[in-house]
Amino acid sequence: MDVYLQDIRKAFPETVALHGVSFEARPGEVHALLGENGAGKTTLMNILAGLYQPDEGSIWLGGQRRRWRSPAHAIAAGIGMVHQHFKLVPPLTVHENLLLGVRGPLWLHRRRDAARVASLAREHGLDVDPLARVWQLSMGERQRVELLRLILRDARVLVLDEPTSVLTPQESQALFATLRSLARSGRTVVFISHKLEEVLRAADRITVMRGGRAIATLRSQDARAADLAALMVGRHVTPPQPSPPPPGAPVLEVDRLTVPGDRRPLAVREVTLTVHAGEIVGVAGVAGNGQRELAEALAGLRPIASGAVRLDGRPLERATVRDRIEAGLALIPEDRLDVGLVGEMTAADNLILKSYRQPPLSRRGVLDPRAVRARARAALGRFSLAVPAEAPVRLLSGGMLQRLLLARELAEAPRAVVAMSPTRGLDVGAAADVHRALLEAQSRGTATLLLSEDLDELLLLADRLAVMYDGRISAILKRAEFDRPRIGLLMAGGAA
């Protein structure tokens, strides 16, 4: 079905997300929607899927003007969307999730429904267990459930929001093969991405969005990566150049660390790692293989089952969070506003959260507001951050929040940093700043453990790369051994 979105405008209370965007996709093609974080890609597709109402503009489907008041209308018209945060109910089983919102008999028939799902799954090469509960599935499996849902509902227009962000390189290839075959059967396929290479590889046409506008639509055989990058970013961003110093003495040592998980008995199993002074060790892996639990255990936010953690030879595994901070361990958490910063507090207060007990910031337990402001101004100046010092930080953009967090965590030249997906959700400029800050800390001798789901980031920054699968480190590679296919295989649980 032909899809045409015409002059769509959408404002949210704080921002105008779309300033009159037009977009067009045809049956039989795979169309990529490329743009940086915050460009408005998700908002545009949510409007097509009936989840958001456009303020202005119209939706045309197969030449007819359409208007939906709820997602149910869009679904009935043949629109199917796989959202970036999957729309699955975790405590329900796969087949129950697939039944949701589908008409049918009043009584559910567990075995018959599951068998039907299983046969459809086999037919399309989307292998999942229909009776498994969704929370037990890997992200790749969950995505297959979502695709299966669209097929089950016979969607004619398929929209996928950042579908590869949770997949290994091999899984991504398999996904694009599936999308290609769905397009060949006459469906219209749109996928959202911010990754140039995959867009060039997998799409027939590419629409680039920037700042709430559609900048251009190109055929991918006519497009070059450099041009796309310029269209997407609208300016030139120089990636930082790593120049690692020779590694020094061991600083952060992890010895057979085992950590219990929330949903399974052990999230981290016997992990052994050493990070030397001035070294960045990357940890690669598909989300949910124990990376978060490892980072939290190192920071003291999660109890451990067994094993040892040492900083400069000093045992830390039983130390409190404050002891770890005082020993020189810094954390850059995955969730900036939940764990990293206090949203309702000002930038100045957030900046002194770790050092407020020391003079001159406080004396006999009483804060000195002038000293606090002076310290905040100095830190903001050093990282050239234009942040209002007196407004609550929850109003800041993701990039600003992360810069603020780095300013606090890296200000006092920590001995070691544990960074968890530090550039997730940031635009290219902010991500480059974060990388620069990490490299600068490295040059000053900080030992960095960088956990990330973005393989490009790890390949850029890491001196050594550990691959994590199912709670274990399956291999540690030196820079000379960095090889994408091999790392992808390890991330999927294959042997080295």
């Binding site: 949210f12 899927a49 989840l51 958001y52 109402q53 709820s70 997602p71 149910a72 679904i75 009935a76 969307m81 959202h83 729309k87 699955l88 109910v89 975790p90 405590p91 329900l92 129950e96 039944l99 949701l100 919102g101 049918g104 008999p105 009043l106 009584w107 559910l108 939940d338």
Partner: protein, 310 residues
């Protein structure tokens, strides 16, 4: 002789537990849909008083029950509009509802204090079943409302776990954004859950004023609405377990009466405290064993489509 005493005690345990069965199962339906209704006590009182008034004036028990359920559902509708449509805080609104229900029922019931109802639900021993030794006198020599509760519990359980609307309601309570994106009408599902819960709370109240202690007295629910809410947690949102818990509570309550009746020396205040103490203890044990068992993922959270969720 002793067997006789035990059977009589068990029978009164069932009779005392039945209002909790209605109220807790109703609250489970509301909460499975994602709405936390702390107004159970208030809705029970409204049900108790309105059912009683209708019975006094019309001598029609069926009509009395229908009005009790309708009146309590109307009170629940207030909560539904405030929390589901307008996004008001569910805990605060529920508390307000309890105060409102207590005040309203006390106002409406003033002229009826001390009046006996001309019609009440009396025990109706079932043929055959009522004569089964042991089980018969405990379960099947009760009134019609108790029999209704026997049917209600498995029906609600089956509806929640084995029907399409039940699945949809659970999805709305677990993850409203997902339910919405899949084309379900989250608000309609939640309204249905809350109104069903309200009607059942009204039935629980009418059971008290027309069957269990047939008369109207101020605040005659004496905290049972709160016990029902606690039972929901204790039962991990499962109607079958909630019924078991309700009968346990009823058993402890009936035990207190019995000790008093045979002239035990334990102070009566202590005996009346027992069931609440017991509930507290069970809750403590259940909650300590696992941290948040079975709680619907979006319980207590309003949903608006275009709002952003973390």
């Amino acid at each position: 002789m002793t067997v006789h005493v035990v059977l009589a005690w068990l029978a009164s345990a069932v009779a005392a537990g039945t209002p909790l069965v209605f109220a807790a199962v109703g609250e489970i339906v509301a909460e499975r849909g994602g709405v936390f209704n702390l107004g159970v006590e208030g809705m029970m009182l409204v049900g108790a008083v309105s059912g009683f008034i209708v019975a006094v004036h019309t001598r029609d028990l069926a009509l009395a029950i229908a009005v009790a359920m309708g009146a309590a559902a109307a009170v629940a509708l207030l909560l539904a509009v405030l929390t589901i449509t307008l996004g008001a805080d569910q805990a605060v609104t529920g508390l307000t509802l309890t105060l409102f229900g207590a005040g309203l029922s006390s106002f409406l019931g003033k002229p009826y204090i001390g009046i006996p109802s001309p019609v009440v639900f009396r025990p109706v021993p079932l043929p055959v079943l009522g004569d089964v030794p042991g089980l018969g006198p405990v379960l099947f020599q009760q009134n019609l409302l108790v029999y209704a509760s026997y049917l209600l519990v498995p029906a609600v359980w089956a509806a929640l776990s084995h029907t399409r609307p039940g699945l949809a309601l659970r999805a709305a309570g677990e993850d409203a954004a997902t339910a919405d994106a899949l084309g379900l009408n989250v608000a309609a599902l939640r309204y249905t859950g809350v109104l069903t819960g309200g009607a059942l709370a009204g039935l629980a109240g009418a059971y008290l004023s027309l069957a269990y202690t047939p008369a109207w007295t101020d605040n005659m629910t004496s905290g049972q609405g709160w016990i029902a809410i606690a039972l929901v947690i204790f039962a991990t949102w499962n109607p079958l377990r909630a019924a078991a818990g309700a009968y346990l509570f009823g058993g402890v309550e009936a035990l207190g009466f019995r000790i008093q009746a045979v002239g035990g020396t334990t102070p009566s205040y202590f005996l009346r405290m027992l069931p609440y103490l017991f509930t507290l203890g069970v809750l403590l044990v259940v909650t300590m064993r696992s941290r948040r068992p079975g709680v619907p993922g979006n319980l207590g959270r309003p949903y608006f489509r275009e709002e952003r969720y973390g």
